[in-house]
């Protein structure tokens, strides 16, 4: 991964931000510089995706788009196309876009077509922006101009709790939605426990994690969208543990472990194990499962409005928490036709209620986000 900004990398960054904005205008949730880990026997090697976009359809199916932006001429275009094709396969992405400042797209059209990639010359982006009526002066949310500040705050986690940063940046993208939800809930709680951290930075870190959590929760809701209401709660609770089979196996294991402990304590200390078997084994399902079920009921009741949730939380994180500004309803709703801002705000507040009840926020985070809600404009 690159760290120091060179003129070439500045050009790269500009391309990346514009492509993020383009994808955002089409309804994608976007991230920049997502590392891909290729674990080898000796060490972990990193390569990163310049722009990653996730778009959910009306039934919460995910569609990934990857974008490789190159401003220089150091790497061969053909090699990059093959590389991008491999990464697309790794992510299960069905869209790939390759952008280069100096390129004749026609030359690579056949190869790109076979690999399912669109090649675009950098100057072609201007035309795309005009075609899609994108305001070229507007850089908001994750493609806002304060990305350096955002990166600095997030990267400060490297000193405080490297595991959180690694998860948010890298490992998150390799997990299925239930595991993302489970892991992020724990990471958010960990974020609240870090000592000696600037509280404003912490709020951004939590809000950033919550925006990714909201994406996972909506994707997770796909599992229950087509189910009868009576089944949903169970599927959600057990889904957090990988499904019923995994749950029963874990419970059996816990029960055996409990029996062993109880017998040993009885034998050695002539006293009873202070926790009941029921309490011991039922702790497997996280306490927040019931709140998650409530949230998912709301998501399934209004799937169209729920599609705006990840982008709303992301904008709140960047625009209101990081920049102390306000979120514009237009930026949230974007391509989502037929959803009112009121519905979008309501579902975002449902999400914040879930976060509060589940203990992944603290009073200050809640205060900042509640104030941010008040500043949302049409």
């Amino acid at each position: 991964m690159k760290s120091a900004l060179t003129p070439s990398s500045e050009l790269d960054t500009d391309l990346k931000l514009r492509m993020m904005r383009y994808f955002w205008s089409l309804g994608y949730f976007v991230r920049r510089n997502v590392p891909v880990v290729e674990t080898t026997a000796a060490k972990s090697q990193y390569t990163d995706i310049d722009v990653l976009g996730v778009k959910l359809d009306q039934e919460f199916n995910s569609c990934y788009a990857l974008c490789d932006c190159k401003s220089g001429i150091t790497d061969g275009t053909r090699e990059r196309l093959f590389w991008l094709s491999g990464v697309m396969k790794y992510f299960g992405a069905n869209r790939g876009v390759f952008i280069r400042t100096q390129m004749i797209p026609k030359k690579y059209m056949d190869l790109a077509e076979r690999l399912g990639i669109i090649t675009i010359a950098a100057d072609q982006i201007d035309e795309l922006e005009r075609s899609y009526s994108i305001d070229v002066h507007k850089f908001v949310g994750p493609f806002g101009r304060e990305y350096v500040k955002a990166d600095t705050i997030l990267n400060s986690l490297r000193q405080q709790d490297r595991g959180i940063l690694e998860y948010l940046r890298t490992r998150y993208w390799g997990d299925p939605p239930y595991l993302q939800t489970f892991s992020l809930m724990n990471k958010c709680k960990d974020l609240l426990l870090i000592q000696n951290v600037d509280e404003d930075n912490r709020v951004f870190q939590v809000a950033y994690a919550l925006s990714m959590l909201s994406l996972s929760v909506v994707r997770f809701a796909r599992q229950v969208l087509f189910m009868p209401q009576t089944d949903r709660e169970e599927v959600i609770s057990l889904g957090l543990l990988g499904g019923r089979t995994d749950y029963l196996e874990k419970k059996e294991l816990m029960r055996n472990f409990y029996d062993f402990m109880a017998t040993e304590i009885e034998k050695r200390y002539k006293s009873k194990y202070p926790v009941s078997q029921k309490a011991f084994t039922e702790n497997l399902i996280p306490g927040y499962a019931k709140y998650l079920a409530d949230l998912m009921f709301g998501i399934c009741r209004q799937p169209q409005a729920a599609l705006t949730l990840p982008r709303m939380i992301d904008l709140l994180a960047y625009e209101s928490v990081l920049r102390d500004g306000s979120v514009s309803g237009k930026d949230v709703l974007g391509a989502e036709a037929g959803v009112s801002l009121e519905d979008a705000v309501r579902i975002a507040k449902d999400f914040l209620t879930f976060a509060k009840r589940s203990g992944v926020t603290n009073a200050y985070v809640e205060h900042v986000l509640e104030e941010a809600f008040k500043r949302i404009t049409a």
């Binding site: 169970e234 709301g298 509060k356």
Partner: protein, 422 residues
Amino acid sequence: MDNPNITSKAVEISKCLIGAAPGMYTHDLGVTREIGDAARLAASIRRRGGTMNRETIAAVSTALKIDSRLTETALLPLFENLGWGEVKTKGSKLEGFIERVPPGEDILSSLGKSWWERDPTAVDEASVNALSLLSKRPYALDALVSEIGVNDVELGRTLDYGEQARYLGRFGSEDVREIIWAPLYWAYNAEKVQQFLQKQREPNLLAIGHLAQELRRYPGKPRENMDQSKAPLLGSGIWWGFFPTGKVTDRQKKVHEYVFASTPQFEADPKSDIFEKARMIVSCLRHGQYSAEITKIRYPLFLLEKLRSNQMKPHSYADVQYAILVLNGVVKLEPTERWYGKSWKVTFVNTPENELAADMAEQMLKGEEPVANTKEEAEARKILTEGMYNYSAEQRKLKTASKVAASDEYERLLQSVGGLAR
């Protein structure tokens, strides 16, 4: 007393006070009544989602027999304060409510906390405490007074209100002049249960309390699995109706009994008692757990979920196990042919009442004390899910007094009014 217990007792008391003409009890039991009403309303609108308009809120309040003015001025602001939703107003007029009510256990614990924060009166405290103790077992008056720590005046008011609203009662027994009990828990068979209790002495009352506690923790315990040393007391308790049972008859005509602790009864007709249906469901599942002839159930909670969502596989024993649920309209059986012969597909009859009963059965199987629900909650659900109000709930006759007043109420009024006049 813990917060969830406070709220559930407040619910019971507030239900017993439904329909009573205004009196000083509205002051003495004001906090309890408001918290009880809040819990009932919250449980009824939970998971409604979206914005409820003013008329829907009024209809739900009416079904629950809560004055909609109280809902608008006190209960919804309380919910907003607790983070359970947002009140939408236009000027001073209520426009709607965006619901975010948390799960049942949170409703109970948060409202229990609110009960304390609202500075309950001594009568509030004594009533909730007394009902909580007496729901487990009767107490001699002296013992009860020492447990709840209340002076004579407050005790008098507590018992007066309780007796008139029929959640507390008193009688003499063989060795103690006055015994206080909770007839609300045995409303259908109060006389019979009273006869049973009158014969008991204090050590037996204590033992009854322990049995009730055990059955609360594990509702629907097979009678044959109960501690044999307590069998005579349990047997007579069952015979006199102190411990309700659910019965399932197997193919050999052997009757299996599943024993429960008593639950509050608000309906005049035993067949209308939602708890009765919940007990039936639990009994049938326990039968599958302990005495099924073919396949024993390991996880009754999972089976209940399958039952409610009609995902149970057809089974040849279902006609025996679920016969009582068929008779009471909770499930329907359809014959099907399987490779091993004739079997039965079980279909849950999806009515708000049955859903409510299944919810309570679920709470019982989880070892939680079910909240005192009645048909009113089912009516409220009907309004929310089907948008209709069935006025049949109005036809039921509540065994509550139309007037609730302490014996010193008149003197007290004179004193207070006289004080004002000076």
